[in-house]
């Protein structure tokens, strides 16, 4: 068994799988069930002035008949009084002293409000705090959540206020509804954040009912934008984590959130710089037990790779991530079709013909069987054919030897500048 323990800015947990602040962490009953199921930590459903929710809160999209490719909600923060939550946090911590309990907090952007709530939650023994600057609906309209999370100065100020009194590590949870996440991340760091977490949900509308013409979900015939999460948002979240991880001015640990549902997702987030991950949608779809395969799969992966500890993954791929201008223009890859494996669906042909570079030709072998031929010299190596190919192993993208030594766009432009005419 590999060592799965993680330490995020001082918050330790038996494994890197935390439940994100959301319905699954709404109560002590739930968090305790989660810990029993194997979750390493839980970020409590955001505490603050208790709100009122609408009925009809969630919606989801399917992809080709598969449920919950993406999930959406118009729920707000906790609707339960702070005292009730604190009592349950206290009891849960007592039962599970080695699991991480982080209190998610959202209050008005006023110093005394932050001071008050931070003190009260730390009194019951939480392991850390997460400042929720992310909720994209409802709270935002009250100047909280994303509304303050979209303003770097407010992010910084509120982080500072929390840090002024906090004794436990402070994580700042960022909203993805922002032009440049590294700006707010830096604001958090400047405010003294011990760590950052991302992403919260993305503004979205799941759909319109084709019969009633009402939005989905619909509250008494009316809809409003909700927050998007689940598998569909993973690439967005992964990029934001990676952009922060590779940013020299953002040198704090990252808790990765957004579309994590499997151990593979977790490995990717960790390779891209996260110290651990948080999960909401996957748990809501399948219940707490999904963590079993996450733990088991992660352990088997680490053993297979000969890694003793999960922490050896953290950030290992960050150095591979850069800007477009640093990519090598002289690198060449082309498609190569393995006729033996190919099942002759011709999807690669039509994809290349209609929508790429018209270089997969349909031919007939001497024995009359059809096969496909890639005109290598015209293939630009776009990958499309290999993406649409349904048969594993039928198309390989092979790397060609360099004809010219590597050259990035940035290098090219620097040199060309010296050749510029007037």
């Amino acid at each position: 068994m590999a060592d799965l323990r993680t330490n995020l800015a001082g918050i330790t947990s038996p494994n890197p799988f935390w439940l994100a602040s959301a319905p699954p962490t709404n109560s002590g009953y739930q968090v305790q069930r989660a810990f029993e199921a194997g979750w390493g930590g839980a970020v409590w459903k955001t505490l603050g002035e208790p709100i009122i929710n609408t009925s009809a809160r969630f919606a989801a999209i399917s992809f080709q008949g598969k449920k919950v490719a993406g999930f959406n909600n118009i729920e707000l923060i906790t609707d339960r009084p702070l005292d009730v939550n604190l009592k349950e946090i206290y009891e849960t911590k007592k039962r599970f002293p080695h699991h991480a309990i982080i209190a998610s907090l959202m209050v008005e952007p006023k110093q005394e409000k932050w001071h008050e709530i931070v003190k009260r939650v730390e009194d019951v023994g939480v392991d850390g705090l997460e400042l929720n600057f992310g909720c994209p609906h409802g709270m935002a309209e009250r100047g909280m959540g994303a509304a303050s999370g979209q303003q770097p100065d407010l992010v910084q100020a509120q982080t500072t206020w929390a840090k002024e009194v906090a004794k436990t590590p402070v994580i700042v949870k960022l909203t993805p509804n922002i032009t440049d996440i590294t700006v707010t991340a830096r604001a958090a760091v400047n405010g003294g954040a011990d760590a950052i977490s991302m992403i919260n949900t993305i503004n979205s509308l799941m759909g319109v009912d084709l019969d009633s013409w009402q939005t989905v979900p619909s509250v008494a015939g009316k809809g409003a934008h909700g927050g998007y999460c689940g598998p569909a948002v993973k690439p967005i979240a992964l990029n934001m984590v990676a952009e922060c991880a590779r940013h020299p001015a953002i040198a704090v640990p990252i808790s990765g959130i957004g579309g994590v549902g499997t151990w593979q997702d977790a490995v990717e987030f960790m390779l891209m710089g996260a110290t651990g991950v948080q999960v909401c949608t996957a748990a809501m779809h399948h219940g707490f037990s999904i963590v079993e395969d996450m733990i088991d799969g992660l352990n088997n992966y680490l053993e297979e790779k000969g890694l003793a500890s999960v922490s050896e993954l953290i950030g290992k791929s960050v150095a591979n991530y850069s800007e477009w201008g640093n990519l090598d223009l002289n690198y060449r890859t082309v498609a190569s079709i393995n006729t033996d494996v190919c099942i002759h669906c011709n999807k690669c042909h039509i994809a290349c013909e209609d929508t790429s570079h018209q270089c997969i030709e349909r031919k007939i072998a001497l024995d009359g069987t059809p096969f496909l031929h890639v005109r290598e010299e015209d293939c630009v190596g776009c990958n499309l054919c290999s993406i649409v190919c349904p048969e594993p192993g039928a198309i390989d993208m092979i790397t060609l030897p360099y004809e010219q030594p590597p050259m990035t766009w940035n290098e090219r432009q620097t040199v060309l500048a010296t050749y510029k005419g007037k």
Binding site: N330, H357, P405, M407, E411, Y419
Partner: protein, 72 residues
């Protein structure tokens, strides 16, 4: 439709021919039509040759040569 590779080869051959004859690239202007590359030669006639390089691969090619010669 002339295969795009062939278009590149045609342009590359022109570049190579000039370089082979001792011309060197002295000026590059990029525009909506690609790159206008001015070659010059201290002794040959004409002392300047101008190529409009259209294909992406050829534009990549001559710049690679420049980058390469600078770094060498």
């Amino acid at each position: 439709m002339t295969a795009s590779w062939q278009l590149y080869v045609n342009e590359k051959e022109k570049i190579d021919a000039l370089l082979h004859r001792g011309y060197v690239i002295c000026e590059v202007t990029e525009s909506l039509e690609g790159a206008t590359v001015i070659f010059s030669h201290p002794t040959a006639t004409p002392i300047q040759e101008v190529l409009t390089v259209e294909t992406a691969d050829a534009r990549k090619y001559f710049s690679s040569l420049l980058v390469h010669s600078v770094t060498k």
